[in-house]
């Protein structure tokens, strides 16, 4: 189970609304490499993960991603407070506004609603952890791109924190993948799925002797 703590993991305190920036930042909530996708991916992959180190890493990183969702939502919320109709039209926020007013809807920067089709739970420890490593890098690239476009230090500061966490999570998933590989037959570790096959796939009986 989970419990809520009434604080953000890192402070978000934005003085000036900027709906155009909100439309970009929202991609880290509901976009293809966003925090909702990350939390959903890790918290669902963990059930069939065979090693205790990996169950712990998926649970704890998945939980931290929930806190990151909250930070991104807070940024978007604070960037879209007290808007005038003129600001909404001039900033290009009008298309979002007609559909959601200033509610926080998980979508990408291009307006595509969140979809679980951006992630996978393959049920294979190596496959899933390699996806997780890639996911952290994709999220880090997205934060890099946002930081190239955003000048406001109030917005940059929490985004830089989140970018750094992607780097750390990449390291921790590296630990998880190493754990899996150490638990497998080192000469044979691509031959079977440690989440499903209890032992290496048997060789065919009539295999010719080499």
């Amino acid at each position: 189970m989970w419990g809520y703590e009434k604080k953000l993991q890192y402070p978000v305190k934005i003085q000036n609304p900027d709906p155009a920036m909100a439309k970009l930042v929202i991609t880290q909530l509901g976009g293809p490499d966003g925090e909702l996708a990350a939390a959903t991916r890790y918290l669902n992959q963990r059930y069939t993960m065979p090693y205790k180190e990996c169950k712990g890493i998926l649970t704890d990183i998945g939980t931290e991603e929930l806190a990151h969702q909250e930070m991104i939502a807070a940024i978007v919320y604070q960037l879209t407070r007290n808007l005038t109709p003129e600001q909404i039209k001039q900033s290009g926020f009008d298309a979002y506004f007609v559909d959601h007013t200033t509610g926080i809807y998980p979508q990408s920067a291009a307006g595509v609603p969140f979809s679980a089709s951006v992630l996978q739970c393959k049920g294979d420890a190596i496959t899933d952890l390699v996806e997780d490593l890639a996911a952290e890098q994709k999220a880090r690239t997205t934060y890099d791109n946002l930081l190239r476009l955003i000048d406001d230090p109030d917005v940059r500061d929490p985004l830089k924190f989140l970018r750094q966490r992607e780097v750390t999570h990449f390291q921790r998933f590296g630990d998880a993948l190493r754990t899996v590989q150490e638990n497998l037959d080192a000469k044979n570790y691509y031959a079977y799925n440690p989440e499903f096959d209890v032992q290496p796939v048997p060789q065919p009986r009539n295999m010719p002797r080499l």
């Binding site: 419990g3 604080k7 993991q9 890192y10 978000v12 890493i57 807070a74 750390t168 921790r172 630990d175």
Partner: protein, 84 residues
């Protein structure tokens, strides 16, 4: 930064150290120095939470101990940018 903000920042700082140490320990469960670090920070975290909650109310509804009025719902909520 007002008092509330300063105290909450302290909680956040120790909370962050615990989160980061936990992720490391998940993958290195036998690392004695990391365990010692975790335990040291946990003491500081517990103390900072206690100090904050005695003045500004519970960070978790499980530690709410109201008698007359339920204060868990009091503003500001974290995303509102007041002094989260």
């Amino acid at each position: 930064m007002n008092d509330r903000e300063k105290m909450l920042q302290k909680v956040r700082m120790y909370d962050f150290a615990l989160v980061d140490a936990t992720l490391f320990l998940d993958g290195h469960p036998k690392d004695a120095s990391a365990i010692a670090y975790h335990n040291k920070v946990k003491g500081m975290y517990d103390q900072a939470v206690k100090e904050y909650e005695s003045s500004f109310g519970p960070l978790s509804m499980k530690r709410a101990d109201d008698t007359a009025r339920w204060t868990w719902i009091d503003d500001p909520w974290p995303w509102e940018g007041a002094d989260n």
